[in-house]
Symmetry: C2
Subunit: 244 residues, 2 copies
């Protein structure tokens, strides 16, 4: 028996999210189905965290325990044979039994991508389309107020049961390449819809709806209503999970 | 009455091709449905050429004739309101009545994209996956033999009824960015599956299955069986149509 860490990439647009659910097809279900094919037994995976319906991942991390019947370096190709085309295991590695994809995670980076052009672009399916010209300088100014340890209740979907809403955001980096604006957010943990609401708030700043400095007050208010809209899920992607 | 030139982008993976067909949903059908919505009459479009099932476009060109009820610069957004999310009108321009999207076209550029990595990447849906390491230098050498005016019968899908198989390929440029190899092909016209077979032949050269120089003999043989495999449609994209 041993513990395996997988890095997983998926197009989340066809799934109800990472986590197994009764109503809908999840990435977890597809992955555990593939594991059953290659190990001939029921294996449950633990992920670094759930991603929501429609959200993609370049570097989701999961762990599971299994016997040694398959050489570790052959696990990705073995699993990919049984996984649908929109899910791919990038790598597999043997880890100590105290490694836990969820509890050992130190920080995570998400990217929210916006295609900022008057008309949409069907060849950029992992970008949200935003037609009004965004001022990147204003977005960068606003982003500075998000970095640090704060009570981020204002950036949590209303109705979420989470009580402790203090998180540390290590960095919010905004990059522009052609018409694509990418918002990279790295933090020690994220509240429900947090990155999508951060993206929506930065879009407000970038389009002049709010002053960049007002982000400070929005955070202090702890009121979801003061923050920007929840941007659509297809623009969000879990880039990387960091461990010690 | 006037003639309008549209530039159109689409994710072709959900369509039976550009051209209207009895069995399957085409881009043309969706576009003409949207034109009917905004002009309240049946309008037929003429495209620069058909793209095959599953093939995408960044810059397909079509023309159609219509009355002046909609300001030209508002046509893209008006049409995009009625088009599905995987089709987008990028621009509209009034042109002379002697402009014909098909017959006025001087040359076209296609790109064939290959994700060259041991495991597939679901976040690159417009790339074909090829797991064996490709030698770009060999591909570039092979590409040189394709450029020029030749009888390209060897690169035409067998069974195609086209008699005159002489075309001019102005350039075959190969670029590598990370693990993505892009083959840009510009020519005055293309035979059925020609770019996909060229890509397959260059993949043979890049993986050492054939010598780069043998491409010259493959072309001279005029025999489809000597060329590489027809690469899958999802890697192909019509980039640009050039007019005088």
């Amino acid at each position: 028996m041993g513990r395996i860490k997988l890095i997983l990439s998926y197009d989340g647009r066809n799934y109800c999210g990472f986590q197994r659910q009764k109503n809908g097809i999840s990435v977890q279900e597809k992955l555990e189905d593939a594991l059953k094919e290659i190990y001939c037994s029921d294996i449950t995976v633990t992920a670094s965290g759930r991603t929501d319906a429609g959200v993609s991942a370049a570097g989701q991390v999961v762990h599971f325990d299994c016997d040694d019947r398959i050489e570790v370096k052959k696990i990705p190709i073995a699993l990919n044979t049984f996984l649908p085309y929109d899910i791919s295991v990038i790598s597999a590695k043997k880890v100590n039994s105290d490694f836990n994809a969820r509890f050992s995670a130190k920080k995570k980076t998400y990217v929210y991508k916006i295609y900022n052009s008057p008309v949409r672009n069907p060849l950029l399916p992992f970008c949200a389309h935003y037609p009004i010209k965004l001022d990147i300088t204003l977005m960068k100014k606003a982003a500075r107020f998000i970095e640090g340890e704060h009570d981020f209740k204002c950036f949590m979907a209303s109705g979420s049961p989470v009580k402790d809403t203090v998180r540390t955001v290590y960095s919010v980096d905004i990059k522009k390449s052609g018409s694509v604006v990418s918002v990279f957010v790295t933090g020690n943990g994220f509240l429900y819809n947090m990155v999508r609401i951060i993206a929506g708030t930065l879009v407000y700043a970038g389009s002049g709806k709010i002053a960049p400095e007002s982000v400070k007050d929005i955070i202090l208010s702890k009121d979801r209503k003061n923050a920007g809209k929840t941007m659509p899920p297809e623009g969000l992607c879990l880039v990387k999970v960091f461990y010690k």
